[in-house]
């Protein structure tokens, strides 16, 4: 049985490893399959009847230490890239909340990070990649070369072909430290206000206490950050990629462990832990970008039945009203989300099926309990009404209609697949569930 990070759905599949592209092409010459990276997505995007893992296809190919360009095969993890590039004064241009994902998966999901409002998603920083399509042909894609296939593949959830290697433009840093600023916001208005006010910070994100009602509704902590520069630091800046100490969750928690009360207590503790309203301090990059990576197998906290992550985006216009509506529903329902993260996205010209759009994005975790799926369908309606959409890399349950109505570029995506003769070769449980490849006929 195999599942991704949220343990749902859990399916049986034939598993192979990408060792040599030509062998995989031969093996699946008459069958559909889907590529899978580190399995850190929350859903069925990289699940199917036949799954080919990229994790063994993990060689670094090229590193220009002077200009900050790195090329690697698709199975290399972001954590491995950090280990190699930080000591030379470089950093990932964009990183999601875990570094244990593959670079191939990062492109396929067109991941974003805390700097999206200024620096976009990862596709903005991809110099090029090589893609193996249905025929076994390998196509070089960049913003200038086969750019339609480039933009279909970034955020294309693996449906356009096998990403073989990726060339990435890195970001220059002076130290491995992050100068952080945390500001407590007593309600949603001030929280959103701070996020807008401090949007000149490279990194910004907010944690929301989504169970707090009444006067403190939507209270939270805004977290801002910059890569520390020489002037911020007392000592000579270090460039060290040393990993944090790992704590490990050794077993699945019982299903009752995470309930309304425990989440309420956690949130109260988390909100009150910093008593100062505005706090500036310096930390390592791991605790700023990857707080949960320090807690191995944290998905076990949600018990064996698994959980769903719900991440949506609402356009700027009317977005705040939508947020109030959705948070209100969650609050009334009393569904505890351990993790509730709000961020403002910037423009997103790249990626035909890429998730971001200028507006507000909120990510929530819900343990799978009775009624959850119906409840999320109701939230979907609000998201759709406000012109928003759901992040495919975190979806395991959206209805086809919702997808088709909220990803308006789908026909463009399909026509590019047709143009390159990709057809339905690369098929996942997600692509079937959402009919993404419908009308892409052999």
């Amino acid at each position: 049985m195999i599942s991704n990070w949220n343990n749902y759905p859990n399916v049986t599949a034939e598993k192979t490893n990408l060792i040599s592209p030509s062998e995989i092409e031969k093996r699946y010459s008459n069958q559909n399959f889907i590529m899978r990276g580190a399995g850190k997505s929350y859903g069925d995007a990289s699940l199917g009847d036949r799954i080919c893992s990229s994790l063994e296809y993990n060689k670094f190919l090229f590193f220009d230490k002077n200009n900050g360009i790195i090329s690697a095969q698709s199975g290399v993890l972001l954590s491995e890239i950090l280990n190699v590039v930080i000591p030379k004064g470089w950093f990932l241009p964009v990183t999601p909340g875990t570094k244990y994902i593959t670079i191939g998966g990062a492109v396929a999901s067109d991941v974003h990070g805390k700097n999206h409002h200024l620096e976009g998603s990862i596709s903005r920083h991809i110099a090029s990649f090589d893609l193996m399509i249905t025929t076994g042909e390998v196509i070089r894609c960049s913003k200038t070369e086969n750019s339609d296939l480039f933009h279909a593949t970034c955020g294309g959830m693996g449906l356009t072909g096998v990403i073989l290697n990726v060339s990435l433009k890195l970001k220059k840093i002076e130290s491995d430290r992050i100068t952080q600023r945390q500001i407590k916001a007593p309600d949603l208005d001030s929280l959103v206000g701070y996020l807008n006010e401090f949007s000149s910070y490279t990194y910004s994100v907010a944690w929301i206490d989504c169970l707090k009602g009444g006067k403190g509704f939507g209270r939270g902590i805004v977290m801002l950050g910059e890569h520390s520069v020489q002037n911020d630091l007392e000592n000579k800046p270090s460039l060290n990629s040393a990993p944090e100490n790992q704590l490990n969750i050794p077993f699945n928690f019982p299903n009752f462990a995470l309930n309304n009360l425990t989440v309420r207590l956690f949130n109260e503790f988390y909100y009150q832990k910093t008593y100062r309203k505005d706090n500036t301090f310096i930390s390592g990059y791991n605790s700023f970008f990857y707080p949960l990576d320090g807690l191995g197998n944290w998905n076990r906290i949600y018990g064996g039945k698994g959980f769903l992550q719900y991440q949506f985006v609402l356009p700027m216009e009317g977005g705040k009203e939508g947020l109030v509506k959705i948070l209100g529903r969650i609050n009334r329902r009393g569904l505890g989300s351990f993790l509730a993260v709000l961020k403002i996205f910037g423009e997103q010209p790249e990626g035909i099926l890429s998730f971001p759009m200028r507006g507000y994005t909120l990510a929530l975790d819900f343990p799978i309990v009775r009624g959850l799926f119906d409840f999320l369908d109701e939230l979907d309606k609000i998201v759709q009404d406000f012109g928003g959409r759901i992040y495919l890399a975190k979806d395991a349950r959206m209805k086809t209609e919702m997808f088709l109505n909220t990803y308006p570029e789908i026909e463009n995506f399909r026509s590019i697949l047709l143009k390159y003769g990709v057809s339905t070769k690369f098929e996942s449980l997600m692509s079937k569930r959402l009919s993404i490849l419908n009308s892409v006929i052999d």
Partner: protein
């Protein structure tokens, strides 16, 4: 115990899963490597990876075990004599095909025995770094006793095992140590869940660790999983009168 650091290591047949795991471990320990094999593209990817991750010198040299005439030139081309030579190439082949097709049988014997003997003869005759040098030969449990299901491969590996044992004896006084490794079943990377008994199947990473341990401790003959020494002890001691009736 020997320390493997700052050494020059030649890996013959560097395209295999075992060799790749070994190359990573050795590079991580700060050794310089010469990767030799037939697949230039795969070797170059491995070399660039090790250089980028571990910042050690790694070079690639084309080597074909079957092209015996080229072996002398190959060894000359790699330059400075290596401190450690690992002979990790092999060809399992198709037993049934080989029983009727000399081409296949010849390939099995030539790769596993003749090719290995040819290149290791050349290495052994290089006296420059004889002192403190180590030669590692990856043989097989299949060479411990010929069995109906794979005796072409088995007999070639039996020959290789005997060669390594003789080489160890011969080079002992010169200060070169020879290690014979018998990995048993090794997990292949491409397809998961292939049906070998789990308890007897090692990962390439585990084989690599066992080889490194054998080199640092001057071990002579190594079964990667200790169970294999017991299994092969039993198989070796079944009387031939019984053994010939078994389907193994």
């Amino acid at each position: 115990m020997k320390v493997i650091k700052g050494k020059r290591v030649l890996i013959l047949g560097a395209n295999s899963d075992i060799a790749e795991a070994l190359a990573s471990d050795l590079a991580k320990m700060g050794n310089s490597l010469i990767l030799a094999g037939r697949n230039q593209e795969k070797l170059s990817a491995l070399a660039s990876d090790l250089i980028i991750r571990y910042e050690v010198p790694v070079s690639v040299e084309l080597f074909d075990a079957l092209d015996i005439a080229s072996h002398k030139d190959f060894y000359k081309k790699i330059g400075e004599s290596p401190d450690i030579v690992i002979c990790s190439f092999g060809y399992l082949g198709d037993q049934e095909l080989g029983e009727n097709d000399w081409g296949e049988a010849n390939k099995i014997i030539s790769t596993n025995f003749l090719g290995a003997v040819s290149i290791l003869n050349i290495v052994a005759s290089d006296q420059v770094k004889a002192k403190d040098r180590t030669i590692v030969g990856i043989s097989s449990v299949a060479g411990d006793r010929g069995r109906g299901s794979n005796y072409l491969y088995g007999s070639a590996k039996a020959g290789f095992t005997a060669y390594l044992s003789g080489l160890r004896n011969k080079l002992y006084s010169k200060g070169t140590h020879v290690v014979t490794v018998k990995p048993g079943f090794v997990k292949t990377k491409m397809i998961e869940g292939i049906d070998t008994p789990n308890a007897l199947t090692a990962t390439p990473e585990k084989v690599s660790k066992a080889i490194i341990k054998a080199v640092t401790r001057n071990q002579n003959v190594v079964y990667v999983l200790r169970r294999w020494s017991l299994v092969m002890f039993i198989i070796k001691h079944i009387p031939e009168i019984l053994f010939k009736k078994l389907s193994l």
